[in-house]
């Protein structure tokens, strides 16, 4: 099996307080850079891990443990201060569904825009278009502006686009399931289908029961460090003990 993701000793510090004005920065420079312009804390601290192709990995941990930050490093949205991240093939994220949606465009326009944003080619989108609309159960509303959608319709369409992007590595942040009960079941079975098709999944969620169904491996993060890396049942047990 080939590696899908390789993370080697990455470190990421975040500023606690931002100095937004030019004036403050200039003063800071004039004073001979005395003191830190902003305080920092480590969001990720010496994180190393590898994920094989076809693995299903859950990132677990409490709020602020660095799960989402790690996911952003894998997707390339953030770059580490030190260390390296490497990925193989196309990486796409179900990260905050609908980030690329524009309320003033029709559902159809948004499918194209969001599909392209998530890395689909024009041909891919044309080929998958009907399937996307069917899965979302949007039907005739596809040519209505998205602003008039119910929040459920909006999320279903966004989710549907995302699961049709067909990347090699899927990053999923807190949105395993959207919409009403039946659609949630559909979402989850779709994700399981992706896992069975050999896609690499990296999932962040607080829904431990759901994670146990989907992932095989669990990585527990605590204050930006990997503290536990084991089969998912063990990792969940580790989290529940705390």
């Amino acid at each position: 099996m080939a590696l899908a993701i390789e993370i080697a000793g990455i470190q990421k510090r975040f500023a606690l307080r931002h100095t937004r004005s030019l004036k403050e920065t200039v003063l800071w420079l004039l004073k001979g850079r005395k003191g830190d312009l902003s305080k920092t804390f480590p969001a990720l601290n010496d994180v190393s891990l590898t994920v094989e192709e076809g693995e299903t990995v859950a990132l677990l941990g409490f709020n602020g443990s660095g799960k989402s930050t790690l996911l952003k490093h894998i997707s390339g949205v953030m770059l580490p201060d030190t260390g390296t991240v490497r990925t193989r093939g196309r990486v796409a994220g179900l990260i905050e569904v609908g980030a690329g949606f524009h309320p003033d465009l029709s559902g159809r326009d948004n499918v194209f825009l969001n599909g392209a944003i998530l890395g689909m080619s024009e041909k891919d989108i044309h080929r998958q278009f009907d399937s996307i609309v069917d899965f979302a159960e949007i039907g005739e509303f596809i040519d209505t502006e998205v602003r008039f959608y119910s929040s459920g319709m909006y999320l279903r369409l966004a989710f549907s686009v995302a699961v049709h992007t067909d990347p090699n590595v899927f990053l999923i942040d807190e949105i395993l399931a959207v919409g009403d009960e039946p659609f949630q079941r559909k979402c989850i079975s779709k994700i399981k289908e992706l896992a069975e098709a050999g896609k690499t999944l990296v999932v962040v969620s607080h829904d431990l029961d759901l994670i146990a169904q989907i992932c095989r491996r669990g990585i527990v993060l605590e204050k930006g460090r990997v503290v536990h890396d084991a089969p998912v049942a063990e990792a969940i047990a580790h989290i529940r003990r705390q």
Partner: protein
């Protein structure tokens, strides 16, 4: 890692690559489809819910033109007439050809400077070549520029316009210079704006200066008359001056008796210089943008 490289791999499963490190503006060319969609979106969304819609693209420069024409052409005596033989012939055309170009530049640079912060929702969540946003802002401005150039050409035709092929080519180069400068500066200010929102205001000020520091409202000869040849050379170093002058050369000059002269050395010296400055601006913009983009997601 060595074991990995030996395995047979499909086309989709290339090497292990570092995510989030794009090829800059070259990536934009590779994402043409997405660029087109982003431009379409901007154009569809722009005048949504307004009664006049796309007509605003005509009304705004139209009003601006009338105000300038009355204030400068008539009151300040820039228009040539029987009572004012020292003025510029066809001042209306002179004025409008400069205004359309400077309007394009202003809109392009202004929107490009705001494009990164404006798309923060996307930039924070999904990795895309971020250059797409400034470039699409420039492109949108180009689309808005088209109807204005149509009006200009119609107005020119009414006043006996007969340009040479050279003049038309020069105008295209002039437009390219403005677009490149806007792209380069748009990359720089768009990136800085993420860290310091002061950049937006700086750009607004810069654009005000740009309107007056290039011969949009007056003629370059006034600069020489008032300040001399050395000052004129410095003045000509501004690529926007050259860009505006190419439009005068292509659109206004052929509607006159062609007595008006171009600045000395315009075609052999200043045009290539401006093009070089414009290209350098893009390279510098790209360089600074890439230096700064690494922290966009956390700063936005």
């Amino acid at each position: 890692m060595t074991a990995v490289s030996g395995e047979p791999e499909g086309p989709a499963q290339a090497e292990l690559r570092v995510p989030g490190r794009g090829a800059g503006l070259r990536d934009v060319a590779r994402h043409r489809f997405l660029l087109k969609l982003l431009v379409d979106k901007e154009i569809k969304v722009r005048y949504r819910g307004s009664v006049l819609g796309l007509l605003w693209s005509y009304v705004k420069p139209g009003v601006q033109f009338i105000v300038f024409y009355i204030a400068l052409g008539i009151f300040l005596g820039l228009e040539q007439s029987d009572r004012n033989p020292d003025g510029l012939p066809n001042y209306a055309i002179y004025l409008f050809s400069g205004i359309v170009l400077i309007n394009f530049f202003s809109e392009a640079l202004g929107n490009a400077s705001r494009s990164i912060v404006g798309n923060s929702g996307l930039i924070k969540k999904i990795y895309l070549p971020r250059e797409l946003f400034p470039v699409s802002a420039i492109w949108v401005s180009g689309v808005h520029f088209l109807p204005q150039i149509v009006i200009l050409v119609v107005a020119c035709l009414f006043t006996g316009w007969s340009p040479s092929v050279l003049q038309l080519i020069v105008a295209v180069v002039g437009f390219l210079i403005a677009a490149l400068i806007a792209t380069g500066l748009g990359l720089i200010f768009g990136a800085i704006n993420v860290y310091y929102r002061d950049a937006e205001n700086l750009v607004d000020m810069l654009l005000m200066v740009a309107t007056w520091a290039s011969p949009v409202l007056y003629s370059w000869e006034m600069v020489r008359r008032q300040l001399g040849d050395t000052a004129l050379s410095i003045y000509m170093l501004n690529p926007l001056t050259v860009s505006v002058e190419t439009f005068h050369y292509a659109f206004w000059l052929p509607t006159t008796d062609q007595q008006f002269e171009l600045p000395p050395g315009f075609l052999p010296v200043w045009l290539p210089v401006a093009l070089a400055v414009a290209l350098f601006t893009v390279i510098l913009g790209q360089y600074l943008f890439r230096r700064l983009e690494g922290r966009f997601a956390q700063e936005l």
